[in-house]
């Protein structure tokens, strides 16, 4: 057999199969195993799935993961659109710089960002000191740190650059003459946005939403380190079942249920966005 360029896919595929697909398959197998005396015994038991099905906590936590992913997606989209549209107006020379400015916060470590927000939002942090100094509040705001608010804020912060980037790429491809034509024909800027720009940038919005959802829904560090009492996540529970409780079957079943739910929600979300009129126009043209 002669060598062809496409054969290079083989080692890569093997690596992904071994490092990614096989562990997930093993998760499926383990979810049917039994545990006896801290030993994992091959079996075909539905005990773990039964436990999972009847546990309200588990489904509540899975629902919470979906909610936090969707909320982060919506927040980043609302904030990302104005930023992405403003970026398209920059001079070409400034765009390279803008990319660096946008991406550098992503290079900081997960723990660095979490650490930094704790300093900003704490009782004697920047925000509270500022608000106290301005006389807007009489005592430090407690909800800023270790609350659902903190989780939402930091997840939005972590994922905003991805959303901006995706929408920006899409918005750069919109023919500016279409917007000018709409304006010439009497559309107000708001109409031009909703009837021309927004429909034509839905592919970018879909790509950004998928990315942000995938990155934020399964996140366990930000909630557990900054969420305080509201920081419980499905993944932290999986971690607990895996490490401390040594209930690998239930840990596997819960992780798989979470994965399947996230996958369904993500496909539904992408499907909905791509069914919009503009997306079909853009994709049909390409």
């Amino acid at each position: 057999m002669t060598f062809r360029q496409s054969h290079l896919a083989l080692p890569v595929a093997v690596a992904i199969m071994a490092g990614c697909i096989a562990p997930l398959a093993v998760l499926v197998a383990f979810s049917f195993y039994e545990v006896e005396d801290f030993d994992l015994i091959p079996a075909f038991s539905f005990r773990a799935w039964g436990d999972l099905a009847t546990s309200t906590t588990d489904w509540f936590l899975i629902g919470k993961a979906v909610l936090s992913g969707v909320a982060t997606t919506v927040f980043t989209a609302l904030l990302g659109f104005p930023v992405a549209l403003a970026l398209t107006r920059l001079a070409t020379s400034a765009k390279g710089l803008a990319i660096i400015v946008l991406l550098t916060p992503l290079y900081t470590g997960e723990i660095v960002r979490i650490y930094a927000w704790r300093i900003v939002l704490g009782g004697e942090g920047l925000v509270n000191t500022l608000l106290l100094g301005l006389g807007l509040i009489d005592e430090p705001l407690k909800f800023l740190l270790f609350s659902p608010f903190t989780i939402g804020l930091v997840l939005t912060y972590n994922n905003l650059p991805f959303m901006v980037l995706a929408i920006w790429v899409s918005a750069e491809m919109v023919d500016r003459r279409l917007i000018e034509a709409a304006r010439d024909l009497g559309a107000r800027p708001v109409d031009a946005f909703f009837r021309v720009i927004f429909p034509l940038t839905t592919p970018g919005l879909a790509a950004g939403s998928l990315t942000v959802f995938a990155l934020s829904a399964g996140e366990m560090l930000t909630p557990s380190l900054l969420g305080g009492t509201s920081g419980a996540t499905a993944m932290a529970l999986v971690d607990n079942l895996f490490g401390t409780a040594f209930d690998w079957p239930l840990a596997s079943a819960l992780a798989l249920a979470l994965l399947a739910t996230l996958f369904l929600v993500a496909s539904a979300m992408a499907g909905l966005l791509l069914r919009l009129k503009g997306a079909r126009a853009v994709i049909g043209r390409a």
């Binding site: 360029q5 595929a13 992904i16 490092g19 990614c20 562990p23 470590g109 399964g218 560090l221 993944m235």
Partner: protein
């Protein structure tokens, strides 16, 4: 550009950099408490950091783990991109989906599944496991970077080289490689950066290895300390230096390519 657009960008940049600026400011603040008002300038925390052997060894560990991650991400990203852009590759769609899975599956789920399989087959968790897992997560990013450049490459140049008697290997080395070198260096830095930034994978797979992010995370649960701030600033500065260097390199390559053309 309108005034509204400019203010949007300024507010956005402020939001993105606010936590990092605050972090840096407190690393120079002359007080053990991280609270306003500021008490004065000091380099004490950086001095303490330089004398802390634990952190220094964590630093070296993180750095040594990040290098192979960058190289593996680059090599596998290159192979994946070559396959993706190969003419007449029948499994392209399927292969692309496969490449996306390490990105779409949450890191936490993936690492826990990997930890389970490793302990079953007796593969010890540690630096090797960490390097392999981090490379896998970096692979989709590296592939995206390299193939974005490769799809714009004119394949006829390769065909011309082949017609003139070059072997496939020579055609790759002399025609394609010079064009994609900036993208390769980008893929390498993405691997290094993702490895340095990671905490989730390390939590599950590091075993007895102690990269910096794990050390900080365990300190973090106890208290905030200014010397930790100083360390974060150092890590940040080093990462920025890396990004800066690879950007300078990329621009110089592009200029040279333009000059040759």
């Amino acid at each position: 550009m309108g005034r509204i657009g400019l203010s949007v960008l300024i507010v956005a940049a402020g939001f993105l950099y606010l936590p990092l600026v605050v972090l840096a400011v407190f690393s120079f603040n002359d007080s053990a408490l991280m609270a306003f008002p500021l008490s004065g300038f000091t380099l004490q925390w950086y001095r303490e950091l330089a004398q802390n052997d634990n952190f220094l060894s964590g630093f070296v560990t993180s750095f040594l783990i990040a290098q192979p991650v960058g190289i593996l991400a680059m090599l596998f990203g290159l192979m994946a991109s070559l396959a993706l852009t190969a003419p007449g590759f029948r499994w392209r769609g399927l292969f692309a989906i496969l490449l996306l899975t390490p990105f779409l599956v949450p890191k936490s789920v993936l690492s826990i599944a990997q930890a389970m399989i490793m302990s079953r087959v007796g593969f010890e968790r540690g630096a090797t496991a960490l390097i392999l897992a981090q490379s896998l997560v970096a692979l989709p990013f590296a592939t995206a970077l390299i193939s974005a450049v490769m799809v714009r490459f004119d394949r006829r140049l390769i065909e011309a080289a082949r017609d003139l008697g070059a072997s496939p290997w020579q055609a790759f080395l002399r025609v394609l490689l010079p064009q994609i070198r900036p993208a390769l260096s980008g893929a390498y830095s993405v691997g290094v950066i993702l490895s340095l930034a990671d905490l989730t994978i390390a939590m599950f797979l590091a075993g007895r290895t102690q990269p910096l992010s794990l050390m900080v995370a365990s300190e973090f649960r106890r208290e905030l300390r200014p010397d930790l701030n100083a360390m974060q600033v150092v890590v940040l500065a080093l990462t920025a230096l890396l990004v800066g260097l690879s950007e300078v390199y990329r621009r110089r390559r592009l200029r040279r390519l333009a000059a040759e053309a």
